[in-house]
Amino acid sequence: MRLDITGLSVEVAGTRLVHDITLRAASGRVVGLVGPNGSGKSTLLRCVYRALPPAAGAVRLDGADLHAMDARAGARLLAALPQESGTEFDFTVAEVVAMGRLPHQRGTGRPSAADTAVCARALARVGAAHLAGRGFPGLSGGEKQRVLIARALAQEPRVLVLDEPTNHLDIAQQLAVLALVRDGDAAGARPTVLTALHDLNLAARYCDELHVLSRGRIAAAGPPYDVLTPELLAEVFGVRAHRVRHPESGAVQLLFDRLPPASS
């Protein structure tokens, strides 16, 4: 499913944090959003997963306006991993993942056998099947993150929005989570993905396309190698960067240094 963001501006408490963003993610592509802290990545994503209304512009799924859609119908098409992950309520992991089926259920929402199977598969895909009976609040940060990704997968979305999916994960888990997002399910079907990432090397390696956000606007967009130039990294991130190719995969990788104070 194609995700089109056109002329999107987002305001929080009267302040415009995201200005006139236009971005397209073609069906099945993995599109990355990178930028320094405070550049508006999370605000943009919050609007895309409908926690915030657009101040101007629109988010469209295959041409249909997401914010004009029935909320449940929208949630059957687009799932998200938001940044909030805390709850005092002692749900089990299985219960948290089962919430992903909510937009698909009617009435009292008694889960069907099919619902249960979808949830079990989602948990297995993030390598957390063994956690099913555990209490969610007692999990480590990395375990929580994987369970919340499983909940989003259990929604069986056509578009998946991820806000820093690798937060709290160790390096092996970071690679595993991004690989599972890239590779799709057993049949190879995968949703269109829009993800914010802090780590530029991970972004370069796993995204088909990157959009660089700076002060709420898009500073550059395109394939990782074209976007992550030393000039852009100096200007937007304030670092000196060397670009090298990964010896095996050929993906662009970056080596960082501080900018010398004189040059800034």
């Binding site: 805390g86 709850t87 749900f91 009292t108 007692g138 929604q155």
Partner: protein, 347 residues
């Protein structure tokens, strides 16, 4: 932690316990009425049978006083417990109860106006309920208007506004008690503030039953959405749940049930705080199960608490709120300490 895989046996057991409790609530009391007589009068009442003239006083005690009172205790207990669950999800706070929204103390102002100053005298026996319910709705409107922002009803503002209003209304109530120079009336007002089912009769049942039943159905159908809301507003949004709209719904349901229940039973504290937590220890946090079990636990609890309140120091009746606190506080503290409890028993 281990949790029962199925809720159905628990619900069945609680339904049986409730039936037994209502029977005990009807059969036991200060005036000794034998069990055979109790069953006889209950049957007569339920089937429209006849009784002889020398049985009238026992019949009145069983059918006109104790039975409707036990039923009302069950309804009030179920309503307060269900609303407690709803309010805790609404403000995402373990310490919330139906009274944190300031609605019961608003109702108390209306009740005091009747008890102390004879307001709405034209309505006769209905004056107290109508006045309490009306002022509960007024309090709800005030709290809602004061707590509402452009972002909708946020949990923290709702709790703070409700608490502030609670103190405001309580001050008005206290002032009313002080200025009314009728000792017996002040005692009634105090009794009402702490909760009492002594005014129960068949007349107090219909409104409470309808309000509580409607709320139970609505909340049970919203269980999935309550789960999403408990995870956070953003998560709710990604799951297709409009957190703002759900909060408004829950607020209205909670306020209406609290108003309807408080109007017939006074401000019975602690049930709405304690029963949701006790229930979560049994069922876990999933609102589908919590909302099936909590109303039954609350109903059974309040039938027994009411029984204790009227037999312990008979013929003097204790306020129900005193008994719930005396039984509830130590049990609750012990349970919490033993389980390292947060919001459901594990963690």
């Amino acid at each position: 932690m281990a949790r029962p895989a199925r809720t159905a046996p628990l619900v069945a057991a609680l339904l049986l316990a409730l039936l037994g409790s209502v029977l005990c609530g009807t059969g036991l009391g200060a005036a000794g009425v034998g069990w055979a007589e109790v069953v006889h009068h209950l049957t007569a009442g339920l089937t429209g049978g006849t009784i002889t003239s020398d049985e009238v006083s026992a019949y009145t005690i069983v059918w006109e006083l104790r039975f409707p009172r036990a039923l009302l205790a069950a309804v009030v207990g179920a309503g307060l417990s269900a609303v407690g669950v709803a309010v805790q999800a609404l403000v995402r706070n373990a310490l919330a109860d139906p009274f944190v929204l300031g609605i019961s103390s608003g109702a108390a102002v209306g009740a005091n106006a009747v008890l102390l100053f004879g307001a709405l005298g034209g309505l006769g026996v209905w004056a107290l309920s109508v006045s309490a319910f009306g002022s509960a709705l007024l309090a709800m409107t005030l709290v809602y208007a004061a707590a509402r922002t452009a972002q909708g009803l946020t949990p923290l503002r709702l709790v703070l506004t409700g608490t502030a209003m609670y103190y405001g209304f309580s001050a008005i109530s206290t002032l009313m008690v002080f200025t009314a120079d009728r000792g017996e009336a002040a005692r009634s007002a105090m009794m009402w503030l702490l909760g009492s089912l002594s005014g129960a009769g068949w007349g107090s049942l219909p409104i409470a039953v309808v309000a509580v039943a409607a709320a139970l159905v609505h909340l049970r159908l919203s269980a999935g959405r309550l789960n999403a809301l408990a995870m956070g507003d953003e998560t709710a949004a990604t799951l297709g749940v409009d957190a703002g709209r759900l909060r408004r719904e829950l607020f209205v349901v909670a306020a209406a049930v609290t108003g309807a229940v408080v109007a017939v039973s006074g401000a019975i504290g602690f049930v709405g705080l304690m029963v949701p937590h006790v229930t979560r220890m049994l069922t876990g946090a999933d609102h589908r199960r919590v909302l099936a079990v909590a109303p039954l636990v609350g109903a059974v609890l309040l039938v027994w608490v009411d029984l204790v309140s009227r037999v312990l120091l008979a013929p003097v009746e204790l306020p129900v709120g005193v008994v719930t606190a005396v039984i509830g506080v130590p049990c609750f503290v012990l349970l919490m300490r033993r389980r390292g409890y947060t919001f459901g028993g594990g963690a």
